[in-house]
């Protein structure tokens, strides 16, 4: 639509615009190839070699050995090796998937509830919205340390609160105990990210025309029915986009886990274990293989989600 004047003044103008567009895009695309595409390809390449951290250029091609290999002993026993049979890796995969599923589910429900509250007209609404932006504005590392202090086993305020209302009968080392470490990580992540979900949901809610609600009110439809039959279907597209962005973010989580629950098997995620192998354990190629697997998992997830949900991530890109 609406390129009439451009077309009217002939093809040369259109060609000139396309040429300009090309030169406008080249610097940006070169920068992205340099910092994103090339390093990604190198990571994938490293995963097929035996490169070590100290000699980055001496790696030899070893095929899929970092992923899976087997050796038959003279006794006839077969030994499998590689990431795909590494229990520590599968533990990290399970932690990541569990974390992603639970945190995104809670953030979606709570975010939607907060958005519904903020969608009401009440005095001081601006202040409430300002307040919920605070968790979002605090850097993740800082919130990890703040919550680390609140969840401290000896002097933490959370234990104090729960003891005084009688929910627990002794102090709990939330971040250090294997049973509770994941709950701690989930709580902080949900606290920090629900505002983001709420704002996206609120934007979706504000696009619904008011007269739909008025019509429902005139017809005497129960508010809960209105929510399920009108509100939810109408904000579904906005909600889907928010959920996919959040899931992708949750699948790659690193900083919160690394700082809040250091070295805990119960929370170690795929990003954490991959970085550990890359830089702490001098298993550079092995860590590269794990990074590549995480990348592949996210790529599959995105394709499946777009394909199944028919999500229009590009918005009206082709207008």
């Amino acid at each position: 639509m609406a390129r009439k004047s451009g077309a009217a003044s002939g093809n040369s103008l259109s060609a000139q615009r396309k040429r300009a567009a090309f030169w406008f895009l080249v610097p940006m695309l070169s920068a992205l190839i340099f910092v994103a595409a090339w390093p990604l390809l190198r990571t994938i390449y490293f995963s097929f070699t035996d490169t070590s951290l100290t000699s980055l250029y001496d790696g030899r091609w070893i095929g899929f050995d970092n992923y899976l290999s087997y050796r038959e002993l003279s006794s006839g026993r077969v030994i499998w090796k590689g990431t795909l049979v590494d229990p520590a890796w599968w533990n990290a995969v399970w932690n990541t998937v569990r974390f992603t599923f639970i945190s995104v589910a809670f953030e979606t429900v709570l975010g939607l509830m907060v958005a519904l509250v903020l969608h009401q007209n009440f005095k001081g609404r601006g202040w409430v919205r300002a307040a919920i932006l605070i968790p979002w504005a605090i850097p993740t590392i800082v919130s990890a340390r703040m919550w680390g202090w609140m969840l401290n086993d000896q002097f933490g305020i959370i234990n104090d609160m729960l003891l005084s209302v009688g929910l627990i009968d002794r102090k709990i080392a939330w971040t250090a105990t294997a049973d509770t470490a994941m709950y701690a990580v989930l709580a902080v992540d949900i606290w920090k990210t629900t505002p983001f979900m709420a704002l996206l949901c609120l934007a979706g809610l504000q696009m619904i025309p008011r007269d739909i609600y008025e019509a429902a009110k005139v017809d005497g439809v129960h508010p809960i029915k209105v929510f399920w039959k009108v509100t939810l279907p109408l904000i579904r597209p906005a909600l889907m986009v928010a959920i996919i962005f959040r899931s992708l973010d949750a699948l790659r989580i690193f900083d919160l886990v690394y700082v809040l629950t250091p070295n805990s098997q119960a929370t170690k995620t795929m990003s954490v274990i991959a970085r550990e192998n890359l830089f702490d354990f001098d298993k550079f190629a092995y860590g590269s293989a794990q990074s590549t697997l995480l990348f592949a998992l996210i790529a599959i997830f995105v394709s499946a989600y777009i394909w199944l949900g028919k999500v229009d991530l590009g918005g009206n890109a082709d207008r």
Partner: protein, 275 residues
Amino acid sequence: MKKHLQNVGFWCVVALIVIVSVFPFYYAVITSFKTGTSLFEVDYFITSFDLANYAQVMENKKFLRSIFNSVLIAGATVGFAMFLAVTASYALARVHFRGRSLLLMSILAVSMFPQIAVLAGLFELIRFLGIYNTPWAMILSYTIFTLPFTVWVLTTFMRDLPIEIEEAAIIDGATPWNIITQVFLPLMWPALVTTGLLAFIGAWNEFLFALTFTASEEQRTVPVAIALLSGSTEFETPWGALMAASVIVTVPLIILVLIFQQKIVSGLTAGGVKG
């Protein structure tokens, strides 16, 4: 009566939302004012007002240096990304060419990359360029998320500018470059400020790259300094100083976010990308 009860319930929910959102920060502020043994007593309200922790943090040269590093790195990253993104987003928003939406999707895909997937390759690149343990390592690596984000949000903004303005400029013989610099940029200041601010916050908060590409304490950024801040032994975390440092680096962000809250909300929802 029923109406009244509903009202009370509603205000309880509102109060709960506000308290849960604000309390951890409030508690950090309270803790930062406490020293000595009073640190280890749980208080729900301010009991002392001792600035010793703040004095200790502000006297720590290494921490001040990391604030300087963070400002420099985030500022340079955002400046660089904006410089490339303004022209690129004009091309993506205003010029029709084949493969445009595929290109947009690829750019969006880059911003959703798991950062760990490029970590090994970036490490090699940074070593090769000889910029390991310098601010350049972060300026280079942060481009991977600031650039796609700025391009994506600015494209959304530019698409919404009225076509008539551009047509008038074309009839006057303006080249695309003139259109960007003389027609669009003056209209886009609010969008540029919002996008820049969100990208700045993203770069300011980044942890994985900063942790991996720095080795000495002088080169650390704020998140790395705070994450690795510890006492003489593992069991002596200096909680008072840690909370003071946390408050110092968070207050400017909170003020910025509150000032620009209207714009940030629209920027976030336009981009649909976490900043």
